[in-house]
Subunit: 239 residues, 2 copies
Amino acid sequence: MQEQTDPPGEPSPGLVSTAIQAITQHIRSEGLAPGDPLPSEAAMTRQLNVSRTVVREAFRSLSAMRLIDMSAGRRATVAKLDTGAMSMVIEHGITTQQISVQQVYDVRRTIEMRTVALAALRRTDQEAQAIAQSARLMHENFKSPEAVMEHDIAFHEAIAAASHNPVFSLIVTAFSGVTRRTWVIGWRTRSSDEDQLKMIKGHEDIADAILKGDPRLAAEHMAQHFDKSVKALLDAGIA
Amino acid sequence: MQEQTDPPGEPSPGLVSTAIQAITQHIRSEGLAPGDPLPSEAAMTRQLNVSRTVVREAFRSLSAMRLIDMSAGRRATVAKLDTGAMSMVIEHGITTQQISVQQVYDVRRTIEMRTVALAALRRTDQEAQAIAQSARLMHENFKSPEAVMEHDIAFHEAIAAASHNPVFSLIVTAFSGVTRRTWVIGWRTRSSDEDQLKMIKGHEDIADAILKGDPRLAAEHMAQHFDKSVKALLDAGIA
DNA sequence: CTCGAAAACCTGTATGACAGGTTGTTATTG
DNA sequence: CAATAACAACCTGTCATACAGGTTTTCGAG
């Protein structure tokens, strides 16, 4: 193979990168939507005049970023928007200590001050119910930290969803992984049942404000929530 | 190969995913920092009892997300924080019409209202200079839309950098690709030199406020800037 | 026309081979 | 002895081939 003249213009950034570009370019130029099938590996192999190895690594890379879905036997398809890659980047930043937990919380605060206000304005009744439901489940399971945490995360993601802007959802969800790793630390600083219930009450206040459709009040409660959370982490000595 | 018993516990999400996890796990457990070398493909092959094909696809996937750096002959190394993956996700969302340009701008506005305030508070003199410099270059080259756009993008990235929170930088930079595809549209709606210079003046106002260290004023100018930009896009009929 | 089995196609994984880049070692030379 | 040049060992990049097992298409039997 490889008889095709490859114009000696570029310094060749590697065949795989080229293949990745070719695939994304295909999605763009064909105007593919989520669920639409991509060319088979064999077809791509012919089109690009490279080995299947190269094409496969390209497909696999896009799959790792969750831009496409792959499964045995079937052709790859365009994927729905997914947090996969973004959360891996954030986690990588955290584990290699290039970003701190506190910095993530600052970004979360910035974003969620907005999502909560948007949610108060745009939420459907069903979304308001889902948000309130998460808060309620936090309350009901407050003896089980694990459960409280999962409902807490669901609470924030539900608010982001109710903002009706998928980019906000994407970012908030990407941070959930970090939250899962630090949440318990903050919880432990609230030693008494009273403190813990007060924290949960904060969530119920937010849910109420969203239900009432009051963006200012919702944002205010969210700000307090974050201020307390960050303080809890700082008290616990998180950098 | 493959004699090793793989415990029939999990429903096997694919060998490559497992390998990816093993590698990231290695980074975590060894506490690797950017630049540190990873095990060779051969070593990973032995450790995981899978073929080199699988290990290679795993490495390549992480490389595509820019979590590791690869180059011929050398072993892969842990990568510095990079926007690569994030911008691909955003671009994918845009090209498959799962998110709109306006939604991206709403997120940008939310984030940059914060970065500009932080920049006003935390910028070094050098950073303030870089920001002002970008605004000045926009002004000087205002006859060349391409140049104005690149300096505009650099302007916003410089502000994010001056916020001293790499997560903000990450997100703002990830959006630059989208900006590059839509910027010209907004520019065209400002038909007269006067309109165009007024838009550039907005940037200089922001730079001044940051130089003065006035976060409220900086945020105010940034808000105006975004409102006008969004209006320009809407006038041009961007969904 | 319906249904089911075979054929054709596709992805997942393994193996082996070789080119070319990188690094550490060793032997040569001044 | 020190500097250096040649070499060996190792590593990644790419290709070809093979086969197992899943999925879709086709087509013939009823």
